[in-house]
């Protein structure tokens, strides 16, 4: 990989210095001289209730309160906070049953945390004091916390368009029989010599990005609505806000702020609608809305929990003859990502192994909890917990080594990926398995831990995954990149691509530097949304792949123009010219022209008054690409985990973890390692310690870091991340994604390590000491 100058290099991130000096501006840091403060008032007392009486008069009287806004004081238009509906055609969206069911302030509370009104005041403290003076009466309604409850025939309907409170199932028009898969599962299952069937329970877990949601908005004298936001999807949010507030997109000025983590939680709108509505109410004044940490769990989206049933049939030699799955997903109170995650959970299942036949179904229901939405991995962590444990159960009963089974049965180049009809162009999963197994000492440990005694038991487990680089063909994939060459040959790359912290802007700069052949210091990423062309945003692990593809093409467009200009000036055919060291040189080395001269002359193009001649070819050089990728280059990965469990207390220590990732090519290696390590921290939490808990009234019990427990530095295992680099032929610089991969296979690996240690498979996550001890006692393990 050393034939490249910038790509693949361990260089500081382009935004590292401003972050480490505290100069990076997050939305909550923005200061304007005239700022007002907005408080979104939420229902904390009920998870399901009608607002029967709302009286804002006392709140309005508090000195320093500028405006109070009830539901009818703002637009009543419905919207969907999620943005998937913009990524499918109207026809497909209609087939999928996408709806818009959210409004800014509601008089019908569908989850604890639903917003009922807003207060605008001179200071944050006054806004909060006034919020306490809002008088509201509710008529409580029955609360539905599980799909089984809201699916009952007598349950209150959340939305007339969704009978039976079923928000989504795979539509017949796109998925015959509402099923994703192939073959005749029922027929193939009869051939099985071993059937493993279980229902798994997945928890509702939260992204917990460390930056609390904050926004600033201004409705100015030009009628432009400006919104400062750290959304992951600036262009799509701009689109939605323009439509919501019925103004042309050219009047919606979305200014991206430094993103303090997203992980899918910002994959769409969160409180932009409320903030913009407040700004419209106080024209000419900046308004800042800063949410509280405790609001995060009740007012923004989380991972889809639910029951995930999987039945797999195997022959004695391990052949997976059939897999039959049903994910009964809980999409929470509003539609948001009801179509996305429940579909992709099945897609990752489909994409993993060479089943004889496979059938995936999903029924997704509303419940009275904060909506489920996008969380890094997008259905894959759930599938990993279910599929990888099922495979391990079969391996145990058939006496087959789990690594060998996966090497034999994982899909290969040429097999269909997660989206049927798009075959894998590359896969290094076998190499990942082999290198990871060697690193953790798989064979020795599997043998060593086969028979144990004493209070401490160890186990080692493996899990594999497939994911994607961008969401084509299911969803729109498109990035526009523009490269403006300054007179001095430095470049400005104008893209709407966001950097959620993963290092996307750094990777795009490296790709530009490599393609243009100029140093990174001479390139600036301009993220201005007014000037940037379209980009979908940061989701589906797409930015380096699709954004990078667009940047690469736009830079190639620049190079082509430079060569054409030089050809014209030097009188040498274009195919005899190439760009090296910031020069356009002839391949025989005899002629050259500096890029700087071409750029300078293109801009500062003078007409000689004496003879009317120009000093060179006129025209500022700008590269352009409107890039629609032709593939989605799925990455693969293998994860190995070793655990130690104290069977007298159930306490579990994750001793070591090895993650080998099929990255294609690592554009910025430290960021790739960082993505795997950070994803692992989230996966470990989902598997062992994280879960949002509710009482019987649907009120959350643990909306704070006191009781929503994340893995800290002392909890993390000894971690090795291995990057397996075999470039993907369909990808820019051969790269494949890593953004979401880290959250996926540690889930299955740890669960499998636990079951190796104890001989017990846990079908419910998180696998807490309480659950372990209960199971150990029930089985009499001493």
């Amino acid at each position: 990989m050393s034939d490249l100058t910038y790509v693949g290099k361990n260089i500081p991130k382009v935004d590292a210095k401003e972050k480490v000096t505290g100069q990076a501006m997050y939305a909550g840091d923005l200061q304007f001289p005239d700022t007002l403060f907005g408080k979104i008032v939420r229902c904390w007392e009920h998870a399901h209730a009608k607002v029967t009486h709302l009286d804002l008069s006392e709140a309005a009287k508090v000195p320093g309160v500028v405006k109070v806004l009830g539901p009818k004081d703002v637009t009543q238009k419905l919207y969907n906070c999620g943005v998937l509906d913009l990524l499918a055609s109207a026809e497909v969206g209609h087939m999928l049953g996408e709806i818009e069911d959210q409004r800014i302030f509601t008089d019908y509370v569908k989850h604890q945390g639903d917003a009922i009104c807003g207060i605008i005041a001179e200071t944050q403290e006054i806004a909060e004091a006034a919020a306490a003076k809002v008088i509201v009466k509710y008529e409580p309604l029955p609360v539905y916390l599980q799909p089984e409850e809201s699916a009952k025939p007598d349950a209150i309907q959340f939305d007339a368009r969704k009978p039976g409170n079923k928000a989504f199932q795979l539509p017949e028009g796109m998925f015959p029989n509402n099923v994703y898969g192939w073959g005749d599962v029922d027929a193939e299952m009869t051939k099985a010599e071993l059937v493993i069937e279980n229902t798994f329970q997945l928890p509702k877990v939260k992204q917990c990005q460390i930056e609390p949601h904050a926004y600033v908005a201004l409705f100015d004298q030009r009628g432009r609505l400006s919104i400062w936001t750290s959304t992951q999807m600036p262009k799509l949010v701009q689109n939605k806000l323009a439509r919501l507030f019925e103004m042309p997109q050219s009047k919606l000025n979305l200014i991206p702020t430094t993103i303090g983590g997203g992980f899918g939680g910002k994959l769409g709108m969160i409180f932009e609608p409320e903030t913009c509505a407040m700004a419209m109410a106080v024209p000419g004044r900046h308004i800042k809305v800063q949410s509280l940490r405790e609001e995060d769990w009740v007012a923004s989206e989380s991972r889809h929990p639910g029951k995930y049933w999987l039945k797999m049939g195997f022959l004695k030699d391990g052949t997976p003859v059939a897999a039959d799955a049903l994910f009964t997903a809980d999409t929470g109170a509003y539609f948001t990502h009801a179509t996305g995650v429940p579909f992709t959970a099945g897609a990752w299942l489909i994409g993993m192994y060479k089943y004889g036949a496979v059938r995936y179904k999903t029924n997704t229901y509303y419940t009275n909890k904060a909506p489920s939405g996008a969380f890094r991995g997008y259905g894959n962590p759930q599938t990993n917990f279910v599929l990888e444990q099922t495979v391990d159960q079969a391996c145990r009963q058939l006496g087959i080594d789990p690594v060998e089974w996966r090497k034999r049965w994982h899909k290969q180049v040429g097999d269909d990926g997660w989206c049927l009809g798009i075959p894998y162009a590359s896969s290094s999963l076998t190499e990942c398995l082999e290198r990871g197994a060697a690193k953790i000492g798989w064979a020795e440990k599997r043998a060593k831990y086969a028979n144990q005694s004493g209070p401490k038991r160890r186990g080692v487990g493996v899990s594999v995954m497939n994911h994607t680089s961008g969401a084509m063909p299911m969803l729109l994939e498109h990035t526009v990149a523009k490269v403006k060459m300054n007179e001095d040959g430095s470049a400005v790359i104008n893209v709407a691509c966001s950097d959620v912290g993963a290092g996307s802007h750094t990777a795009l700069t490296q790709i530009a530097a490599e393609t243009l052949g100029i140093p990174m210091e001479d390139i600036y990423i301009d993220n201005n949304m007014d000037s940037a062309g379209f980009d979908v945003g940061s989701h589906a692990s797409r930015t380096a792949y699709v954004g990078g593809g667009a940047v690469m093409k736009a830079c190639e467009d620049v190079n082509r123009q430079l060569i054409e200009r030089a050809s014209e000036r030097l009188g040498i055919p274009v195919d005899q010219l190439e760009i090296k060291n910031r020069q356009v040189v002839s391949k025989d080395g005899k002629a050259s022209m500096s890029v700087k001269e071409i750029c300078s002359v293109g801009v500062s193009n003078y007409v000689n008054p004496a003879n009317g001649e120009r000093n060179g070819v006129p025209g500022q050089i700008q590269g352009y690409a409107s890039h629609f990728p032709s593939h989605n280059s799925p990455p693969f990965g293998a994860c190995f985990a070793e655990v130690e469990i104290d069977i007298e207390t159930g306490q579990t220590k994750v001793v070591e973890m090895v993650i080998a990732h099929d990255i294609g090519r690592a554009i910025h290696p430290p960021s790739v390692h960082g993505q795997l390590a950070g994803g692992a921290q989230q996966a470990l939490g989902m598997t062992l310690t994280e879960e949002m808990r509710y009482d019987e009234k649907g009120l959350i019990q643990n909306n704070s870091f006191f009781d929503y427990k994340l893995f800290g530095p002392l909890d993390m295992p000894k971690l090795t991340t291995i990057l397996v680099e075999n470039p993907d032929p369909a990808a820019p610089y051969g790269l494949k994604s890593v953004g979401e991969a880290g959250t996926v296979n540690p889930v299955g690996a740890v669960a499998n390590a636990v079951s190796h240690a104890l001989g017990i498979m846990f079908t419910e996550a998180p696998i807490t000491p309480e659950r372990i001890l209960k199971a150990v006692n029930e089985r009499g393990i001493k």
């Binding site: 229902c43 944050q124 807490t768 209960k774």
Partner: protein
């Protein structure tokens, strides 16, 4: 409307910053229940927000001098001033050498920032059954010295926590010192806690103090937290140790006995069933560890 107290700021109160202890005591006499005492700040604000109310006055100890000591007085024992932090506690060589349970309870508590702010006394006054230093102090035995306008009095730690969140401190009293008697050379102690992740409040904690004499336990104090409304001793279990050598069968007996003396509940951090099962295990392990501590022959 929402009774939720926001995490962004603090509710309104009048801050009193006495410059001397007599001044502080005067303020306590004047305002009594209308006043909360603020030392480290790691507990008070979350406590206030959890209960959704604050007293009209908050008395800060920040200006008081001479209360941040940890002194060992030969022949008498350890004296911990009201403002001594947990960070100071775990750095103190006398504490780690002779009061192992207390050292360990401070070592595992919180994180470096919290240990720097939180005081040992604050831990005791907070009266939470999950408090770590409190658990060790109950096992070691100590007195809490309370100062009022009418003078000082000492309250035995066994009599200090009256019920959940209620202590023997009267509203006009300032807690000024903790006094732990000097252990014998053959005294052993240890502390252990269980958490969900490392950075966490305890879901169970145990501390023991054993008076050993040539391999035989003459007297034991066993303190357990998170299994009742206050940190508690399990006296019937302690009695089983009296005059016995510590053997595996004795330890098993102790584990069974512990289960009968505690009344844990389900809460955010764990379940009653789990605590019931595991308390005995942790008591066994803590006793074994204390008894095995190296030193002169026991």
């Amino acid at each position: 409307m929402s009774s939720h107290m926001s995490s962004r700021g603090l509710p309104e109160f009048e801050l009193l910053i006495p410059q001397t202890s007599p001044e502080a005591v005067d303020m306590l006499a004047q305002h009594r229940e209308q006043l909360s005492i603020l030392s480290g700040g790691t507990a008070l604000w979350n406590y206030v927000r959890g209960r959704n109310r604050v007293t009209p006055y908050v008395l800060s100890l920040s200006a008081l001098k001479g209360l941040d000591y940890i002194n060992e007085i030969p022949g008498e024992g350890l004296r911990i001033g009201a403002k001594a932090t947990v960070a100071q506690l775990i750095e103190n060589p006398a504490v780690s050498a002779k009061y192992a349970a207390l050292h360990e309870s401070g070592y595992w508590f919180g994180n470096p920032t919290v240990r720097n702010m939180a005081t040992v006394m604050g831990n005791v006054l907070r009266a939470s059954p999950s408090a770590d230093c409190s658990c060790a102090l109950l096992a070691l035995g100590c007195q809490v010295i309370l100062q009022s306008k009418s003078g000082q009095r000492a309250v035995d730690i066994d009599d200090f926590w009256l019920s959940y969140d209620v202590t023997a401190r009267k509203p006009d009293e300032l807690a000024v010192e903790i006094r732990i008697p000097e252990p014998k050379a053959t005294t052993r102690s240890a502390f252990q806690r269980l958490t969900r992740v490392r950075q966490d409040l305890a879901k169970l904690n145990v501390a023991v103090r054993l008076e050993m004499d040539k391999g035989v336990c003459q007297q034991a104090r066993i303190a357990i937290g998170c299994v009742g409304p206050t940190t508690m001793r399990v006296k019937k279990t302690e009695a089983l140790l009296q005059g016995k050598a510590i053997s595996d069968s004795l330890l098993d007996q102790l584990a069974t006995s512990v289960r009968g003396e505690i009344s844990p509940i389900d809460d955010q951090r764990s379940t009653a069933l789990y605590r019931q099962q595991v308390a005995g295990v942790i008591v066994k392990r803590t006793i074994s560890r204390a008894a095995a501590e190296k030193g002169a022959s026991l």
